[in-house]
């Protein structure tokens, strides 16, 4: 089989290509329309402010929010920091307990670690084997002094969709502020904050075909949620986040969200068909496991473990595909994916995992190529694998004393 001239992009959960329509919308705001949206004294500022406010409406529109509930940030990491630190600091006199989940993004987990250093107490909940949160366990974790809970909408590694409506209702009942990291959710699942009991929601541009370096935090007005600013300065964004707004970036995220609202239903149907095609092509390989719930997930994500094959070597073989792995070897830390570990997957299966994420420009031909090259390389690497040989000889690998190194 020949390799295409450039790796086929199947890493949409890492980032999306910017939609050309988004790029076109942004360019004028980098060229002639350079004004500072905060300049109130002349036309350069007025037109930039108008563009930023239109973009704010477009962002709000995709998630059923009021534009006044949208605070611009630099991306979902900053939004998560602002939401968690901002709410924890504001409500600290009410209590010091925070609840989150072990499979959250590092931007949430590491922020919670920092809050622990500041004196807050954090409960990191386990997930079930399918990656979903057990609602009873969540309910049981709520204490009288719980002020804040943070649960992501769509997981970045395994694509599972948490039951945000149910978790939000539990929080409302107990008066707990509820934050949702929706970086991977916008344009992939329907979000209507008029109905969804969520107080704070982190958003980003580049996972929904917008530019990198721009995001937003939804801060609910009714019932009103308060946060303490983490970035101080000129008092932009009603004091919640100072800093000159990057007009072109705001316009880009707005346009990306406008397109998402318009096209997401048709697009997601197409992507579901591609997802099903990929699953059908790969599921019959021996000793293959899908990581995360098989249906309660966005179709953009397929995370699979190919037992007895190490993920990095597989990625090296399927060089026509740009994908990622939960293997330790692809990370700087040499630790296998903590998300897969949280599902109770063995280290071996975490080392053997491949995350394939597809999107707007993925084609059927690319899926077929991916299936063929993965099958070919899994077979080749298993021929090389002493573990596969032992498995085939009927040896139970768990009975062997391995020397950990």
């Amino acid at each position: 089989m020949t390799t295409p001239h450039f790796p086929i992009y199947m890493d949409y959960s890492a980032t999306n290509p910017c939609d050309p329509r988004v790029v076109d919308a942004m360019i004028p705001w980098l060229r002639e329309h350079f004004g500072n949206p905060a300049s109130r004294s002349h036309a350069w500022g007025w037109e930039a402010e108008k563009a930023v406010e239109t973009a704010r409406e477009q962002v709000a529109d995709l998630i059923g929010a009021d534009p006044r509930e949208i605070v611009w940030t630099s991306g979902a990491t900053e939004s998560n920091n602002l939401a968690l630190k901002g709410a924890a600091h504001f409500y600290k006199t009410k209590g010091k307990h925070i609840i989150t989940v072990k499979t959250e993004h590092k931007a949430v987990l590491d922020t919670c670690r920092e809050l622990e250093r500041q004196g807050f107490e954090v409960t990191y909940l386990d997930v079930q084997a399918d990656g979903l949160l057990d609602l009873e366990a969540f309910k049981a974790a709520i204490r009288p002094d719980t002020i804040l809970a943070s649960v992501m909408f769509v997981n970045n590694e395994i694509g599972v969709i948490q039951d945000i409506a149910a978790i939000g209702s539990l929080c409302r009942e107990k008066g707990v502020i509820f934050h949702v990291d929706a970086a991977q959710a916008t344009g992939r699942v329907d979000i209507d904050l008029k109905a969804l009991p969520v107080d704070l929601m982190s958003l980003t541009g580049h996972k929904t075909y917008g530019p990198k370096g721009i995001g937003a935090l939804f801060v609910r007005r009714k019932p009103r949620v308060r946060i303490e600013a983490q970035m101080h300065g000129g008092g932009h964004e009603r004091g919640m986040r100072s800093g000159t707004l990057p007009t072109h970036q705001c316009v880009g995220m707005g346009e990306a969200y406008r397109i998402a609202k318009l096209e997401m239903h048709e697009e997601n149907q197409r992507i579901r068909a591609l997802h099903d095609r990929m699953v059908a092509g790969l599921k019959d390989i021996e000793e293959v496991f899908i990581n995360g719930h098989e249906t309660q997930r966005v179709p953009h994500n397929l995370n699979m473990s190919f037992n007895y094959v190490e993920g990095e070597s597989l990625i090296m073989g399927i060089k026509g595909l740009a994908v990622s792995s939960g293997s330790a070897c692809t990370s700087a830390s040499l630790e296998p994916s903590y998300v897969l570990r949280a599902l109770g997957r063995s280290d071996e299966l975490a080392h053997s995992s491949l995350r394939m994420t597809i999107g707007r420009w993925t084609t059927e031909e690319e899926i077929d190529y991916a299936i063929a090259t993965i099958k070919e390389n899994v077979a080749k690497l298993r021929e090389l694998s002493p573990l596969w040989e032992m498995f085939k000889d009927g040896i139970d690998l768990s009975t062997i004393q391995w020397a950990a190194h």
């Binding site: 007895y308 094959v309 190490e310 990095e312 070597s313 090296m316 073989g317 293997s327 330790a328 070897c329 700087a332 040499l334 296998p336 063995s346 280290d347 071996e348 080392h351 021929e383 090389l384 694998s385 002493p386 573990l387 596969w388 040989e389 690998l397 391995w402 020397a403 950990a404 190194h405």
Partner: protein, 128 residues
């Protein structure tokens, strides 16, 4: 991360892949690493009992490209060597030959461990 040409060459054309019969008197087997760590190497040598020279070698490796390349390279190097020469092989020589980056040095260490284990196994079989 980019791999060196030599790592890619060994990965794409691994030398001496396969297995010898473990119970064969002329065979020494070394199995090192652990699945949980993401690397397991099995390295086997076939020794001429009259001369003590390694006449053939085989490997199978579960691990990243650098681990596969390290073990493949070692099977090439040990052929024609005496047991003492093979056991004296240094991981630094492997790392240098394959231009392994620092984060992959443990792959060369594992390959050194594997050949030492194979030599030990052969010697244990021939204590008397």
């Amino acid at each position: 991360m980019a791999y060196s040409e030599k790592v890619v060459d060994h990965y794409e054309h691994p030398r001496n892949v396969g297995s010898f019969d473990k119970s064969d008197e002329s065979v020494g087997t070394g199995m090192v690493g652990a699945p949980a760590c993401g690397d397991v190497m099995k390295l086997q040598i076939k020794v001429n009992p009259a001369t003590g020279v390694i006449e053939d070698a085989r490997f199978k490796t579960y691990g990243c490209g650098s681990a596969i390349a390290s073990s493949s390279l070692v099977t090439e190097w040990v052929k024609g060597k005496t047991l003492d020469e093979a056991a004296a092989l240094k991981n630094s020589e492997i790392a240098e030959e394959l231009a392994l980056p620092p984060v992959k040095i443990h792959c060369s260490i594992l390959a050194e461990d594997a050949i030492k284990a194979a030599v030990d196994d052969y010697r244990k079989k021939h204590l008397n």
